[in-house]
Symmetry: C2
Subunit: 251 residues, 2 copies
């Protein structure tokens, strides 16, 4: 089978498969982006999450490796309210952790060049931990990942260790991250449209959507960034330094 | 210039450069691994951090995008004590966040195959967010990244929002993660040695070190994992589900 044919076959099979997630469908905020990607001959998405606030209850085994007894107390893909957290905490029996997990997307790509285009779009939209995986059989996956997170223990053995005031502040923090996450998703979509229209994927079906004009510029220079780092680093640093992006009008 | 020659030149230049990090040297726990990688003709490290607990004080601008006024109150690459955190909190003037940041390593690779070998080693050692970046000029970087993290707000405008008991529990949690991180670094080193000795990089200078026999097996099956996910996912899920690895003896 031709390489292109094999990829198409793979894509058809993957898109026909039932969505195995609990929710059973793509998250609302990224539906359009997922659709746009799957419209391109050379791409198909294999997993996605628009970003979420989640509370996990871990019981029994305290080791990090074993996590068999872990249930969800609460999850939302939108902004959350302190009351959501208070209500969920009533069901705490073990160690509850509240997390904000940003947008994540996995896209299988036909060729390495196709993955490189998507990777550039992801990095320029602020998803700095994005990367490409090349399997032994030539399966190429581009993963969109952010450095943005929040992971906060709230209870120990069911006993709440934090105050109401703290939870209110935490919810504010999580919501600010969720809003920034949504802005980045919007950027990702715009930059993707632009990259596709630019002719990088000229052989794919053209999209009818319009790409807003945008150029994103990293504001902080590498020199400044490396000055801040206390780790051996000449290339990239830990996630405490989010890239600073500014939206400029592209005349 | 030949491609191999160009890469060697690049490597020499990079390794000759001064270490621009505050610390100015590679972290102790990964010195041996960094040395092993740099001994191979086809690899050189461009940045690294063995993992750290860090407390950051953010002042002035509350927006996530602007982080100009951010200073470090405390950092350690080893286990930490509650007293370290209490002492650092005395200098809090803004919003203090305590983070555990796991091992991170960036390696420039000669060919894509070389990056694939390292990527396999990273994934099999538990560093699931690892990925490859291919630049427009053909620069290939493999990034070792973990899904393991902790990011906990402690103060708002200099005012501490958490109790002593909570900080003690948090330090325990951070130290548990640090210990697991160190175990994964050891795995990474062993698996790397094994991959190099296996002849995957037979054309490189052979290492004199001995690789312990090890095979790491993911214990949880994909089916089980996808059942847990509430996001559209047929491939990979969010970082709440660390891969479960078991060390088996390789006869």
């Amino acid at each position: 089978m031709e390489k292109q044919e094999a990829f198409s076959h793979w894509k058809q099979q993957s898109l026909r498969k039932a969505d195995v997630s609990k929710k059973g469908s793509v998250d609302e905020d990224i539906e359009e982006t997922v659709r746009l990607i799957n419209q391109q001959e050379r791409y198909f998405t294999t997993s996605s999450c628009s970003g979420r606030v989640i509370m996990i209850n871990e019981t029994l085994d305290s080791s990090i490796i074993q996590k068999q007894n872990c249930s969800w107390l609460f999850v939302t893909h939108q902004l959350c309210k302190p009351d959501d957290v208070f209500a969920a905490l009533k069901n705490a029996t073990g160690d509850v952790v509240l997390k904000f997990e940003p947008f994540v997307l996995h896209v299988q790509c036909h060729k390495l060049e196709d993955a490189q285009i998507l990777h550039g779009v992801a990095i320029n939209s602020g998803f700095r931990n994005s990367g490409i995986t090349v399997g032994k059989k030539g399966k190429i996956i581009m993963a969109v990942r952010s450095t943005h997170g929040l992971e906060v223990p709230l209870t120990q053995n069911g006993k709440c260790l934090v105050s109401q005031e703290y939870i209110e502040f935490l919810v504010q923090t999580a919501n600010r991250k969720m809003e920034e996450n949504k802005r980045r998703i919007t950027r990702f979509h715009s930059c993707l449209l632009k990259a596709l229209q630019k002719g990088d994927c000229a052989h794919d079906a053209p999209s009818k959507e319009q790409a807003p004009s945008c150029v994103y510029v990293r504001r902080r220079k590498r020199k400044d960034r490396s000055r801040k780092s206390n780790c051996s680093s000449s290339e990239e640093e830990h996630s405490d330094s989010e890239p600073e992006l500014t939206l400029l009008n592209d005349p």
